[in-house]
């Protein structure tokens, strides 16, 4: 057993990807199942806050863009569910875990989208934060996960650009539009920073995940990188980030920033965010209402296959 474990770690250390049927420590498999399925759930639940604006998008162009983006998210969920399945769990049990509330998804999707500007802010900030994480994950040690992430990253960059562009239009618009733009940034900024997870000093999974090269950068590193990027981009919008302590630090070569409200973070993780219940209800409703379609499709396929065999 020890030999297998050493062989496994040697592969990781020499950048050889782990593939589904290779031997892997049980904890590695479990960590991946948890992380990849959470990631998949996030893509699926992430469609809900944006879906809220499909019928109310301000133009046909924006509506088409939003539809395309949401369809991408469904695809991303699928790639990731498929990667989870390679680890030996069924799709059904993974989805059951989401619907029962046992599995987590990114807390950001428990916030409401109350104005059109929120759709822009989600693209720019939420997808922007997700991309930081996903670019790193393209090099993750588990082959199917890495391949899914490469595919996702290729599609994701349009998401961020369309979001920034939507905000750019608002930021150059009427007084009301400018207020709306700033308001959305104010509400999405801190939850976006929380997307990177707890501080390194508090994170329970980080050390082992780094050793196994599931993750390659720490939560704090990624968060800092994101802040440095956004703090510059926000200037193009002529807007501000809602953090009085945000300031360039010449010595560190990074932006300093204020303390994140971790109480809020844990409250939302534990299910007490503004929309936790609504999101789960929507997922369960969709699952139940789709049941007859799944069953009918299977019955039809079986009937057709039966006829073919008889002929």
């Amino acid at each position: 057993m020890q030999d297998l474990e050493k062989l496994f770690q040697d592969k990781i250390d020499t950048e050889i990807k782990i593939e589904p049927k290779d031997w892997m420590p049980e904890a590695y498999r479990k960590t991946l199942i948890r992380q990849i399925s959470q990631h998949a759930h996030s893509e699926i639940v992430g469609m809900l806050p944006e879906g809220n604006w499909i019928t109310r998008a301000p133009s046909l162009k924006r509506k088409a863009v939003l539809l395309a983006k949401i369809q991408d998210e469904a695809g991303h969920g699928l790639y990731l569910y498929a990667a989870t399945e390679t680890l030996g769990v069924t799709r059904e049990s993974t989805i059951d875990d989401l619907n029962s509330g046992k599995a987590k998804y990114s807390s950001i999707f428990n916030y409401p989208t109350i104005s059109w500007a929120d759709i822009g802010a989600i693209g720019w900030l939420v997808d922007g934060a997700a991309i930081m994480n996903q670019v790193m994950l393209c090099r993750t040690s588990y082959g199917p996960y890495a391949r899914a992430m490469v595919r996702i990253c290729k599609e994701e960059s349009f998401h961020q650009r369309q979001g920034f562009e939507a905000l750019l239009v608002l930021s150059r618009g009427s007084k009301e539009q400018k207020v709306m733009c700033q308001d959305a940034i104010n509400r999405w900024w801190w939850p976006s920073l929380m997307m990177f997870g707890p501080k390194d000093s508090e994170s329970t999974h980080s050390d082992q995940s780094m050793k196994w090269k599931i993750k390659r950068m720490s939560n704090d590193e990624l968060r800092q990188r994101f802040i440095d990027m956004i703090a510059e981009q926000v200037k193009v919008l002529n807007m501000t980030l809602p953090d009085p302590e945000l300031k360039w630090n010449d010595i560190r070569g990074h932006y300093d920033f204020g303390e994140i409200n971790w109480d809020e973070f844990w409250q939302v993780v534990k299910g007490n965010g503004p929309c936790n219940r609504e999101r789960l209800e929507a997922r369960n409703k969709a699952h139940e209402e789709g049941r007859w379609v799944r069953e009918a499709a299977m019955a039809y396929a079986q009937k057709k296959a039966g006829k073919k065999a008889a002929a």
Partner: protein, 122 residues
Amino acid sequence: MSFQTRKFFYGDIPEVAGGQNVSSQPSINENNWPLWEVFIRSKQGLDHKHAGSLHAADAQMAIENARDVYTRRMEGVSIWVVESRYIHASNPEESESLYEPANDKVYRHPTFYVLPEAVKNM
């Protein structure tokens, strides 16, 4: 004929080498759509390449879903789908014995043969 819904996963191999006797693990729910592997030809002249997998009730639905998921940005001109349970794969634990015979046959590579500089175009 009833559909077998036992699943294999891409890169997977059955417990019994070669994919025989696969009925040992009963499926949880007969009504679950089986898993399919999707192969895409990105343009004429190139091979079909594994793109990923998805669940579908039958081949036609698998192809349509594959189009929706894997070719939204003109990534393909042709799609193959095959039910995952029909894929037989080599066992990574046998890699050594399986590929070993190729290891010591360097004379199969052109660089094994040292020729004078004067020989051109070879």
